[in-house]
Structure formats: C-alpha cells, structure tokens
C-alpha cells in the first residue's frame, strides 16, 4: 500500500505524478451512478433525433395498445372471463403491464448480454472501473420503451375509474407498492436470465419466456389457468407476487391455492429477497466468464 501512496503524491519514478485520488465507494451507489451516467448519455444522443424518437415511441405505444384492445374485443362476446369482469381484468392488466414496462424500460438492454458474452465484447466492460451489471443494464438505453409504461398506466387509470372498490388506506398504499415491487421482481428475473446467458449463451429466448410470457400471464385472472402453473409462478418464480395476490386483495377476491390473506403484503419482501438472489446468481455467473480466443 505504501507504494500506492507514493505514486499518488507524485513521488513515483515517472517524471510527472501519475494517477489521482481513488477512494473505495459502496458498489451499489457506484453502480447506480454509472447507470445514470450511461443512461443520460444515451438519452442525449436519442434526443439528437427528436422526430425519430417521437415516432418510435408512438409506434411502441400503438402496438402495446392493440394488446389491450384484443381483451376489450373479447369482452364484446362474453361478460366475464374466469369470473372476472372487464374492469377487474383491466386492473390486473394495468398493474402487470406498468410493472413490466418499468422494468423493461430500465433493464431491457440486458437481453443483449448473450451476444456480448458470445463475441467477447463483454471484455471492454470489465476493464472499466464501474460494476458490469450497471453497464450492461444501461447499454443502449431506449427511452422509447416508455410507451409500454404509458399504456399500462392508461389501462390502470381506466380500471380505477370504472371499478367500484371499497377503498381503505391499506388498499391505496398497496397500489404503488405492488407496481414497484412488481417491477423489481421482473427485474430480478431479467438479472437471473442474464446470469443464465453466461452458461447458455443464446438463452435470451428462455429469459423472454419468463419476462414477456410472465407479463402476459399476469394480465389474466389466475382462475383461468391450471393449478400447477399458478403454483409454479407463485413459489418457483415469484411472479404472482407482482400483481395477482395484491390485486386480488384490492378487489376483495379469493386467492388461488387457498393462500392466507396476508401474503399479499409480502410482495416487497419477496421482491427484495428475489433481487438479492438474482444478485448472487449474477456474481457467480460473472466469475465463470471465459471471454473469447483473441
């Protein structure tokens, strides 16, 4: 260590002082800072082509809007789906779509990791002084993905406006909590998927099955799915905590699998636990990275 100090104060062998003060900082904060820096740069560069940005964002919004329209169309023929009305399904849909949209906006770039592992360009991220996860997540940040969030929020507002809910303070608090912890659970799935891409380098489709597939699944009431599937998404990949359980609580509906009522409040706890688990998986995976031949 003594040597390091000497160098910093300019007493090294070099003719000029080399290097400058470097302090140890908490990794989480460093990661968030780096994420912010990279995202800001991409947003700036996107805004250089404002017209193109506006058009792709509207395109994104339109495509996701059709998604909900199909559900609306379905309800012109039936009055209820699995015992749920259109506004109730809209609430499920809104929560899930907003949570997934938020996560996709913030971490959607991680899908590209597999390619980086395959062609060895991950090397260049590893030689920078900030956490690799932050760099991978912020890489080519696409603000246009905000379209999905806007659409999810619109459906959510529609649901809240038409539903006749007996509001309690707890139910009101539940709304933002379930959207945010939902986004966190999806985020953890993204990170796990990314970690898996170190092992199986073209596994981004497996990840999509859980993320896009999961988001679609959660847009429908649990009553229309097979028990085993519901059990799987509750206990194995805790996607059910994203919207099903908390939304059912808000709607005063029966839970699937005869779960007790209080599990609805577990969603932030599950989100944090699953997030930590994903973090560990990521660390382990990064250590197995073997780069490419040259």
């Amino acid at each position: 260590m003594a040597e390091t100090v000497a160098v910093r104060s300019g007493e090294g062998q070099g003719p000029e002082p080399v290097g400058f003060a470097y302090e140890e900082r908490p990794r989480l904060l460093e990661g968030l800072r780096a994420y912010g820096l990279i995202v800001a740069m991409w947003v700036r560069s996107t805004m250089a082509y404002r017209a193109s940005f506006v058009m792709t964002t509207f395109g994104n919004l339109a495509v996701t809007a059709f998604d909900f329209l199909t559900i609306v169309l379905m309800f012109t023929h039936v009055d209820a789906l699995g015992g749920y009305t259109l506004p109730e399904i809209a609430l499920l849909y809104g929560v899930s779509a907003t949570a997934f949209g938020l996560c996709d906006l913030l971490l959607g770039s991680m899908e590209r990791l597999g390619r980086r592992v395959r062609d060895g360009t991950l090397d260049t991220l590893l030689v920078r002084p900030v956490p690799v996860l932050a760099q991978v997540a912020a890489d080519r940040f696409a603000l246009r993905r905000i379209g999905r969030v806007v659409q999810g929020l619109a459906v959510l507002v529609y649901a809240l406006a038409t539903l006749d809910i007996a509001w309690t303070p707890l139910k009101v608090a539940m709304l933002p909590v379930m959207v945010i912890s939902g986004a966190a659970v999806f985020g953890a799935v993204f990170v796990c998927g990314a970690a898996f891409q170190f092992v199986a380098q073209d596994a981004s489709q497996v990840q999509s099955a859980f993320t896009y597939g999961g988001a679609t699944l959660l847009q429908y009431p649990p009553t229309i799915f097979a028990k085993d599937l519901v059990r799987g998404v509750t206990f194995v990949v805790p996607l059910a905590f994203v919207s099903w359980l908390p939304t059912l609580y808000v709607l005063d509906r029966e839970y699937p699998l005869d779960l007790p009522q209080w599990v609805a409040f577990l969603s932030p706890v599950v989100a944090v636990a699953f997030g930590a688990l994903a973090g560990l998986a990521w660390r382990a995976a990064l250590r197995t990275y073997r780069s490419t031949g040259s």
Binding site: E3, P15, V18, Y22, R44, V127, R287, Y289
Partner: protein, 343 residues
Amino acid sequence: MDGFAQEATGAGGDGFGTLEDGFITLDGLEKVFQVRRRAGLLRRERHEVRAVDGISFQVARGEMVGYIGPNGAGKSTTIKMLTGILTPSGGSLRVAGIDPSRERTRLAHRIGVVFGQRTTLWWDLPLRDSYRLMHRMYRIPDGRYRENLDRCVELLDLGELLEVPVRQLSLGQRMRGDIAAALLHDPEVLYLDEPTIGLDVISKAKVRQFLKELNVERGTTVLLTTHDLTDIEQLCRRVMVIDHGRLMYDGSLAGLHEVGESERMLVVDLERELPPIELKSDGSGPGLRAVKVEGPRQWLAFPASASAAPLVARIAAQYPLMDLSVREPDIEAVIARMYRAAP
C-alpha cells in the same frame, strides 16, 4: 533504426526483469480452460486446454515490453488475467500491488487497455461523447481531463474525428481513438493487445511514435502484444516470447534474433538476369546468399542482427543494382527457428 529505437525507449526500467520491486509480477501463472467436445451423438468429452501454463516474469515501472508469440500461444489470455477479465487457475499475479481478478474495479483506475480487435468506445456515439462519459466514469479531475484530451487530440490527430460516430471511423482512426480513451485517466500501466493490427504504414508510424513519447515523457509502463516485429524493434528494449502457454524467451530483441538465428531478406532488382549473388562474410561484415532468383530479381538472406548498409554497398559496387528493399523476418519464422536451435 535498431540502435535509434533502443536508445529512444531506454528511458524507464533498468533491467530485464531482474528488479525485485516488479511493478507487474507473475509467479507461475496458469489458466486452464475446460473444453467440452462432441464425441459422438450425445457423448461429450471433456478435456483441458492449458492456455497459460506456468508463466513467471516481472516488469519494472516505466518499462516497455513486447509480448509476442504465434496465434493461440496465450498472449491475450495473459493480458486478460493482467486486467482482471479472467481469473487465473493457478499461480499468483500482482499489478501495482493489486490482485486483478479480486479487485478489478480498483485496478481499472490505474490501467489502460487497448484491444486491437475490438473497441472500448461506444459504437454509435461520437468520440467526444465517449470521452465525456469516460471523464465522469473514471472521475477524472476536470483540468486533468482537458489537458490529457488536448494532448491526445494533438498527438494522435483526432481533431476532426471528435464529432464522428465511432462506427464511421476507419480502423486506424478508431485505434487512435481507442488509445486516447485508454489514457485519459492517466493510467500507470498500458496494455496494448495487437495495437497495430490491420493499420496502414502511416497509422502504424503515428501510433508507434505516440507510444514512444508516452513511455519517455510520462513513464507509463507499457506491455504490448503484436504480430509485427517492427513494433517491437521500434518500441521495446525487452521482448518476451510465449508459446503453448510457456515463456520461451525473455531478453533483448537482438538476443532473440541470435537465439532464433533469424534472417532478414534483401530483395534486389538488377539491370539484367545474372547468376545468384553470393557474398562471403569478411572483416567488414557478414555474408549473404541468394535463396531465390526470378529473372533480374533476387532474394538474398543475411543475419537479422547484421546491418544491411555495408551489404548493400558491396552489392552496389559489384553488380548493376536498380532497386532494393529489405524484408523483416516474421515472428513465426523466428520462433520456428528458435525451436530448432534449442531442442
């Protein structure tokens, strides 16, 4: 040319890895990859590839070292362990007192890395944006950043390229951009993995000149891998040869030529077709012999350590010489001869 290069790069380091306080220290470094190979329809065979197989050396602060070897010798794998990208399978490794794979981000502040094969810049962004991001990411003090950027822009001729997205740059321009990016945070060590690969002669010269000055003026320790022996000749006093993951040679370039008994080639165009030229070695210099004759053109081999000038003078005195050029030996040939020389 040889003598000039050696004098110019002799600023830092006083020995060939004999210093006790090695700035970069490798001790029995190993990297073993488990490779699974298809051996039948479903069966897979596992076997080990020892990419780096027990390498030890030390590099003193301010040294400029060439790290050469044929394809697949383990050069890049070594560099990747020195930067913390790969975790060694065995042995120990310290760069500026830091264990790279355990404290990768801490080390990142003190090293600069240039990969000839891939860019560390952001592909879709103008150079200036990439640099700006580096500035914040490495927390480079404003004054220092401006000073370093200005210096790199001037010496590497980047002025007109700053607003151009990286993907639109030519290979040589991109390489210069990459070198600047690796130096903005005043690294103490610079690793260059094939920095002149695919560059034209002018770009190569620019890059070499810049590296030479960097080493002399800033005392930056430089470790470069290359396929181009000219890089080594012009930049490095010390060269290490690696093959099959083992260190084959560690010493001066001249010594390598001796060990490898390598030869340079003098290609001469004569006025007319003549019998093969043969010069015996005498008091004034070494001999040379024709290895190939094609009409008036002859290929003449002579020891790489010898100077070409007296030979050219002797040929010009005896033969009707029209034109000539000197070809450097390639690294593969030198190493191949080295094997034959040392069984």
